[in-house]
Symmetry: C2
């Protein structure tokens, strides 16, 4: 197995392609990087002797299959909804498949066929999902092996801006898909607390953000993800009374974001008319009632229950929401208007460093004591291209490709990385790249 | 033109089929009623000598085209997303098409082809949309003809329960698609007030419901629809400073519905896990924080900012939301759980009468005075089958079919009923069925 096909050469591919090309030299692999933007692919392959960049329109079935047929292992970095087609091709052509995306129900349905052909279809092999699964499973299995009875598992991840590049009052810049940030949390967050189900709807999600103490970094805040219960059984935590997955933000972010929700700026379902003709100031005026105050700013402050000089209003002002500047987006949804505005304001500048924080909190009973283990990863990027995000998404995939070529993976079918034969070597090799969790243990009672 | 095909024999078809069969006797039409449920179609045709019921699976292209090819006029009462296929068939086979649904962008794109073939594709030919367009246009054009300068147009419609059948604290029963009621208002309501755009997001829509005085009926309340601006130009109201379309509800409904939104019960996008295993009481518990009170009811009351004995809490209690009864719906969304519960509680009983209220408010300047004209339709159904809703949706379509067969419609292409050659005869004939607007004029200043 020495022919590796990577489909997609976008933002998240750099660290992966670099890793795979390095290994290619040592191991004699042939690496093909395919993208609809040939220059992008060429820029990543950089004339590497073992690499080749090629143009691919994934919607062209024959071209896609032709490339896949000549590979042994296929890595798909395509947008999530396109993986399934590639999955079908890989079944047909007998190829292993790796992605960093959430595994869809449809993809899981290919499990039997993949297993029959002795193929591994590994999904959720990036950062979140990916490293979160692996690092959590390692600790959970270690604790269980010691005889611990797990009482709580809380896992938080945030793609943030490093303090040295933090130059705005939101303390946030886009290091990942802006649309996902704007629409984050829509739906109902679900988790377990003291053995009881908890549901938090979108209209209360950011209001009810919790404070968390990140080892070595101080206080942050986190809001609950939609999917905390999904992994309970697959993690082997069937009877656990507390389970929560959350997203980390800088202190104060959630209160201000909740203001945007209350105003109405995160609705992504329906376009508003005349969005091309009005200014941000008129937009804010349109959202607020004239009975609420004289100036538009005063009205918005009253609408969201804030003082006019509050931090939240200052954050809104900094975004330019009270400026008499035209929006200029015909038939845009409010969410699209917001995204467009934020793209400018929250842009990662060239020298900016991003920062990933992942923190797991485990509470457990062991030998009559109630203990807490906190396991924390903090990693900063080098600059706006070589981000921690790209590294932490790409490296696990690369390491896993290597494990597959070496025949070290016995798992078959559609999987996510929760088995020791995957997480042990991947986490071990990640340490060589500075990806290491710091642990802190406390006895609570 | 004497062959009429009606596709769909569901809830909204009875009054239409009855009207068309009556006319068929007089005019020698052949009427075919097609449905995927043959018995339903047969039950509506009742062996009428000019009628025939037939089984049709609309997804079977050949069967569908075969039926359409033998008709002169096609009425589609299918779910809205299925009209387009029928529209393409009608273009291909040169047939007129009538629906009561909102005209989609895709349907509008068939306009040129329909016009080239001298076909009329009439959409929005029911109650709302339908009678609302026709009655508004008649008054708007009458006022303009008198020289009035329109300053405000507000149009409200509600499908309600008649006071004599009003037996529950919500003062509401389902007389139409329950799912649409549960998901109503999601998005951003858009309207014009004093020449300014107004946007109201879902999280504030029911909080900001307005009180309206319905002639002869007293005080009701209304929340703004998403689409108030859409009809401004087509109604010929380009420069009007105030325009609003709204939905009428009984007093107190909106405050209680807003509580359901705040709790989180109207989220229809994502299923919650374990919905099959828990009770309504546990569901409410899961939505509320234990710090908010001792009992679940107290917590919910505090969550929505109500006293525990308030009308709103009593409405929630009456729905059974605090009962320890299992929900029993695997992987349901909160909205589906709510719909399921309401279907039972808000069921129209056999003898129940529904009631439609439609009220237009026009403000205008005429001869130096500022005046208001209020035009109101109140209509009650006979029972749970012969509803005012079915009558008011079906009769305009039937009358329009008759107009087309008589060659009285010169409009071609994709249209909605805003032209005098349609609204004049339709509104006139509706009076024979007791469908008449009462007008009240006041001089405001």
């Amino acid at each position: 197995m020495k022919n590796i096909l990577i489909i997609g050469a976008g933002r998240s591919s750099s660290a992966l392609i670099k890793y795979v090309l390095n290994k290619a030299t040592q191991q004699g692999w042939n690496v093909v990087v395919a993208d609809s933007n040939l220059e992008l692919a060429e820029g990543k392959v950089k004339n590497h002797p073992n690499g080749r960049a090629t143009w691919l329109d994934v919607s062209k079935v024959n071209d896609r299959r032709d490339l896949i047929s000549r590979a042994d292992i296929v890595v798909s970095l395509l947008p999530a909804h396109l993986h399934l087609e590639v999955g079908h091709d890989c079944i047909k052509l007998n190829k292993h498949l790796i992605t960093a995306s959430y595994v869809s129900k449809e993809m899981y349905r290919l499990g039997d066929e993949a297993r029959d052909r002795e193929l591994i279809f590994m999904g959720e092999m990036g950062l979140d999902p990916g490293i979160d699964h692996m690092s959590a499973m390692k600790t959970i299995n270690d604790l269980k092996a010691k005889g611990a009875k797990l009482q709580a598992f809380r896992s938080y991840t945030g793609g943030l801006i490093a303090p040295e590049s933090d130059t705005n009052p939101w303390h946030y810049k886009f290091t990942w898909n802006p649309r996902n940030v704007v629409l984050a949390g829509q739906g109902t967050a679900q988790y377990l607390e003291n053995g009881k189900l908890k549901y938090t709807p979108y209209n209360r999600l950011f209001k009810e953000a919790r404070s968390i103490d990140v080892i070595g970094m101080g206080e942050y805040e986190a809001y609950a993800n939609r999917d905390s219960l999904l992994y309970k059984d697959i993690y082997g935590l069937e009877g656990i009374p507390n389970i929560l997955r959350g997203t980390i933000r800088h202190k104060g972010f959630c209160e201000a974001w909740d203001a945007l929700i209350t105003i109405g700026l995160t609705d992504g379902d329906f376009p508003i008319l005349h969005a091309d003709k009005i200014s941000y100031h008129e937009l804010m005026d349109a959202y607020s009632d004239k009975e609420l105050g004289n100036s538009v700013k005063e009205r918005i402050a009253n609408l969201i229950g804030q003082e006019i000089n509050s931090d939240v209003i200052q954050k809104l002002e900094w975004l330019g929401l009270f400026r008499k500047k035209r929006i200029g987006l015909p038939n845009a949804t409010p969410a699209l208007i917001l995204e467009h505005l934020l793209l400018n304001k929250w842009k990662l500048e060239e020298g900016d460093k991003d920062m990933i924080i992942m923190q797991h909190e485990f509470e457990y009973e062991l030998e009559g004591k109630y203990k807490q283990l906190t396991s924390t990863l903090v990693m900063k990027g080098e600059d706006s291209v070589h981000t921690a995000m790209a590294k932490l998404v790409g490296l696990p995939i690369g390491i896993f490709v290597n494990l597959v070529t070496q025949g070290r993976i016995t798992s078959k079918g559609v999987q996510i990385p929760v088995m020791a034969e995957v997480y042990e070597p991947v986490l071990e090799e990640l340490k060589e790249y500075g990806v290491e969790f710091i642990e802190k243990e406390e006895t609570l009672s």
